[in-house]
Symmetry: none
DNA sequence: GATGAATGAGTTTTCATTCAT
DNA sequence: CATGAATGAAAACTCATTCAT
């Protein structure tokens, strides 16, 4: 930690084999983090889970923190991608809310554990903090835009501040993902999606279309 | 020489001085945990923050984990106590919701950071896991009871399952406490309370009294 | 962050270098234990005596106790091996007793200090206690068998219970090893062997062959 | 340890109450040492077992080692006293050997554990080493004198060196005490005494009187 | 004196990182 | 590049002894 570094800084792998090894380490790191939290996230365990030797870890990652950043980057990208899938649900606004909630919940399922761990451990790392903020902002922005459209269409309570509402309702979904997937409260996922959607719809004063 | 626990387990302090020292260590532990997360939570730093020498830590706590359990216990008790203050708000159900939300938010303000840290770090400690579950259950139970009363009084949507609703809306409040106090999203606390209350009231279909 | 064993248990060394290092630590541990008792038996001193750095100790041993078990195992194996050498002394039963006693004394020479230290420190460790019992039992069993054969050949007092006699005479030899090698009573080893053999022979009523 | 000592050196207690407290500490120390080995021999546990407060320990003993010396002194004195009881057995030399062995075994019963612990732990303390040597010497001397008298009376093999014989047979008894009382080999005490005596008598060529 | 709290040096253990082969 | 051993600073814990009341 903080030694003067005589090791060559890892470079992007050039061969296919190198890429595979790097990917394996990245995947192993993420899985361990999700499955066992910080306790499982050591260079040695990651290397072992990836099926390579201990020293190889440092061929591909500068440090443990370097891997952590890579994991968070991967999780964030996945969140962006997955959450784009949702909106193609057509027509009925309530059905869209249900779909959106289902999508959000699913997206957070994979991300929640990692992001929470990082939120706590990232006291010092600005890169990480930045990533977390960007993920949050993306979600808030999307939620706010969706609400604004409903309001403009006269389908939702026009008095609600879109951004604040998106923050609050987003908080609800995120925390429920945590409750279901990490705390393992024995709840049926579909039931939760439906219930959240009902509450959400009522909260924004969703008016059934004609 | 052969292993075996030799040191007697720390006992409760007998003198006033001892009680003060133990309290100081407990308070210091909690403050460090809140302020700096796991990084600040070492016996050495705790002892230093409490103004006592290194070894004194082990006069009162069996281990680092022992202090952690004591901190969580303290936080949990505070949550219980603070959250009892709310319900004396009279009359108007909406005013009561506002008061409850303000109370919850305030209560979580102190508890949130610690509880989240512990949620992540408590993979192995059953005592801790149990405490966390109890705290959650208390909140869920109270919320569900409150809703049931409103339903029985014909003031809220009778179709909502009280427990599930309490879980979801409780999730909203808890996560908002985190957003405001830990992530430091620049939001006005009163505004958030009002907004959450409005959404909450709409969500449960609160009917204005006569 | 949350507790839980994170470090993988040390595995057997894979390379020759690793084997050498492990052997050096084991040897150093044994030597220190014999030379300085518990006081010299610290991971730090062992590592230093083995000429490796502090942390290397834990590359090969899980803990101080783990090394202790390994040392006892080594001592026990040596005892087994060395004590097998004796019996090939031919013909004359008395000559065989002398050889056996010389062999036992020599075998205990290396083992005595370590086994006694462990006997005291092994209050809690069942693995250790088991090893000690096995070593004792081996010796008692061999002694009893030897006596039984002499009795069957009509060369020793047939009224003596073989097992009890072996225990008592074995006790004599073991303690004499301690007296000579640890307490450093200034006695000539050969003289002791001869004397013990004479007493032993008389005790079991050894009859000179024809 | 090795600090500059501002504490008043403990003085011999003057009041009866003081004497009682000191005795209680001494007794507790010995009992813990016998029952739990070094693991139980801490100032705190000793004080607790003696029913006084922690700090009081240092009112009566300068240090842990100081108590240890006192315990060994007590054990040694008891050995001296108890072993004097034996010789009044009259007449028959074999009966006297039986009585002596019974007495030795009984005497070592209390002493064995403590003396062995000290033998291992007393690497540095010359006072302790000296005490141990004196105890040993007393026993060897007595045994040798007994044998010499038998030889002079024509009742034992005159070729045996008295001192060496006493050392060897004494070793047998001492180790048997350890085997029975500490290792808890399930042996009947009387049977052992008889068997040892038989072997001992045969070993020295004891001739039945007339 | 007696009490129980306080001390801090010493010991054990951990683990991210570096190095020799 | 890959491997597995080596490193050592930092963290956790112990406990004989001293001190304030």
């Amino acid at each position: 930690m903080g030694r003067s570094r005589t090791n060559p800084a890892p470079t992007a792998p050039v061969t296919a084999r190198g890429r595979r090894t790097r990917d394996a380490l990245l995947a192993a790191g993420r899985e361990l983090l999700e499955a066992r939290g910080w306790a499982g996230f050591t260079p040695e365990q990651v290397a072992q889970a990836a099926g390579v030797s201990y020293g190889t870890f440092y061929t591909y990652f500068e440090s443990k923190d370097d891997l952590l950043r890579a994991v968070v980057r991967a999780v964030a990208e996945e969140l962006f991608t997955e959450s784009l899938v949702g909106p193609d649900a057509a027509g009925d606004p309530y059905a869209r809310i249900v779909e959106a909630n289902r999508g959000y919940l699913k997206a957070w399922r994979g991300a929640s554990r990692v992001l929470r761990l990082v939120e706590q451990g990232a006291d010092t790392d600005d890169t990480l903090r930045q990533m977390l903020l960007e993920v949050r902002e993306l979600y808030v922005h999307r939620g706010a835009e969706g609400l604004r459209r409903l309001q403009e269409a006269g389908l939702a309570n026009p008095e609600l501040d879109p951004r604040l509402t998106a923050i609050v309702l987003g908080a609800m979904v995120e925390q429920m993902a945590h409750v279901i997937y990490s705390l393992r409260e024995p709840l049926d996922e579909d039931e939760v999606v439906n219930h959240m959607s009902k509450l959400w719809a009522a909260a924004i004063g969703l008016r059934p279309q004609a």
